[in-house]
Amino acid sequence: MTTPAIPEGVKRCPTRQFTLWLAVVGAVLLWGVYAMFLIWYKGLNQTGMNDAYGFALWIWADLAVIALGGGAFFSGFLTYIIGKKELKSIINYAVIIGFICYSSALLILALDIGQPLRGWFIFWHANVHSMLTEVAFCLSCYFAVLTIEFIPLVLENPKLDRIPFLHHLSHNLHEVMAVFAATGVFLSFFHQGSLGGVAGVLYGRPFAFREGLLIWPWTFFLFTWSAAAVGPCFTMLVTWLTEKITQKKLVRPEAFQLLAKISGWMLLTYMIAKIADTWYWAAVTAPSKGFSLMDFYSSNPVYGIWILIAELVICGIVPALILITRKGRENKPLLVTAAILAVLGVCINRWVMVLQVMAAPLLPFQDWYMYMPTWQEVATTILPVAYGAILISLAHRYLPVFPHEKELNPGQ
């Protein structure tokens, strides 16, 4: 069916079906909103956190969505700065996914502070020595950039595009988009890095602490690198999922292939750096504080050496090898498997850099600290997924997100 609000020449599902879908996802969203209300009203006692676990599920979710949202800045960099025209097929979608990830991260951060009404103190009383300050500034600025990148697409909705002012605004914004893409890359380098620095500078926590270059621990660079490597995998994965749900081809295969190839090489080089970092940490840094590698992977019910192997080998080296080989990339199930593994790998990395850091005991007479999130934490962590699904659904229905959709689906 076609209405004036739907882009010309593409087919969308009936309104009733679309409304039903929104109602289902909306119910999940409302569940999350209720939990959010409880947390803001009653405080962080609604969570499973405690004095040993000051950072928990939300900080992991923040770090994970920001890494996965890295597809926006890296695809933008490849498209507008390097000039990879093939990626024009997917860049709009990368921006939307990035927008969802970053707005979710900001929402979770607003939940995760004990005094939400004082959240602005981080800007007003900024401590230049704190990595979290850098995160707050760069994250906010980059979210503003993503919003600017998203606006032209919104203005391309057929109804809005009919208004001359909005039409010209959209056109002019497109013209200067390379400037915003470059700004986004610059800001992303720092906030992805400073998120890595958040854990890396903790010299009182030997599991997280890393030496580095000048004021930046190695985790600063590793986080940026991994986000650039895995962000595009997440973009591909969401695109593939959207294609499956809508039963349409949305992106040219060459865009997938190029993104997969670049992502693969980025992932492989990241893994080499990450393994070198882990080896140096295990052989030099941790022993200098009196810890052996296995002190961090034993005597507890969860964190065994399996998690390190899963992160570095199964969800690191394996997907990298699949993605750098032509045969691996061209085999769709293998490509999707590699993307899933890579996404899992970066999520495991963010998990251990937050939750395992908190769990590992420091004094010899202490035990491991274990943590279980409450339903309120889980609901508010799922909330961004529901919000993302709704925004993607609306964008796909009413905006020309995929410029080659018409050409790829001639029968419709």
């Binding site: 962080l44 405690n50 004095d51 040993a52 004990g114 401590n127 020595h129 010299y203 810890f291 010899p364």
Partner: protein
């Protein structure tokens, strides 16, 4: 953060706790609760959410009866000087809103409650778990409100708090000395509540830079050690113990490492500062 004030001689207030004398009675904790308006809940069974600025840990030598030995370790905030002794203690540098302050004139690390917005990064940074979060609004039994210390502000839900070495007592002592035209404080003029309450005098407090204060010589004793010294946090809380196994439990060592040798090296390095 590294500026040295010109108008006054720098102090370095610290604590020495003799573990051979500590009986684990908990008087220090009780005194601290009363002095610093530390709130408590009716149900305090969840110790991971209990607010306390000093807590007493029970440690044993791991041997079966009859060779079992027990030691109690009172743990306030370690008031770390940080790497390079410049006040970059683990919690101070990380606070995004400068709500954690290192006072260069005293070496005391304090928390500005009205500035803290509860991100808990300082808690993640502190290896001693000295920092506590206000998970609930403070509530005292009605009559008890009349006994709150007017010199210490109560904290609200959602902010982090911790031991301040009873900083309000320092301010009072400084005011008194100023009125009397003195620059220097006597050792007994500024003492923490826990040190005064300890029935066995296990806790001594004073200026680690001042040879006239007992902590000066005690912190340089051969049996003195600090917790997790190898992390380079440079705490200003020292412990004394004649028992080797207790000193061994204070830090992490790899198999085959001579811990007494490493500890002695760290002790000498601390003494030269």
């Amino acid at each position: 953060m590294t500026q040295q004030p010109q108008h006054t001689k720098t102090k370095r207030y610290g604590m020495v706790i003799d573990l051979d004398k500590c009986t684990g009675c908990g008087a220090c904790m009780v005194a601290c609760y009363a002095e610093n308006n530390v709130p408590f809940r009716q149900d305090e069974s969840d110790k991971m959410r209990s607010l306390n600025w000093i807590r007493v840990m029970k440690v044993d030598n791991g041997k079966p009866f009859p060779d079992t030995q027990v030691c109690y370790i009172p743990m306030p905030c370690m008031q770390c000087d940080g790497q390079h002794m410049q006040g970059h203690s683990p919690c101070v540098s990380v606070c995004p809103a400068v709500a954690t302050d290192y006072d260069q004139t005293t070496g005391i690390v304090s928390q500005i409650y009205t500035r803290c917005f509860g991100c808990r990064y300082c808690m993640a940074a502190c290896p001693y778990h000295a920092r506590k979060f206000n998970w609930w609004d403070p509530k005292w039994p009605a009559d008890m409100e009349k006994y709150l210390n007017p010199d210490v502000s109560a904290r609200m839900r959602g902010v982090v708090e911790k031991c301040s070495f009873c900083y309000h007592r320092y301010q009072k002592a400084r005011d008194k000395a100023y009125v009397e035209g003195r620059e220097e404080l006597h050792e007994d003029e500024y003492q923490t509540a826990c040190a005064q309450a300890c029935p066995t005098n296990a806790i001594t407090f004073g200026d680690l830079h001042n040879p006239e204060h007992s902590v000066y010589s005690r912190s340089r004793s051969k049996t003195a050690f600090r917790l997790l010294e190898r992390l380079n946090t440079n705490p200003k809380v020292y412990y004394l113990s004649s028992k080797s196994w207790v000193r061994r439990k204070a830090d992490n060592y790899l198999e085959g490492e001579n811990f007494e040798q490493i500890r002695e090296k760290a002790r000498k390095a601390a003494a030269t500062h």
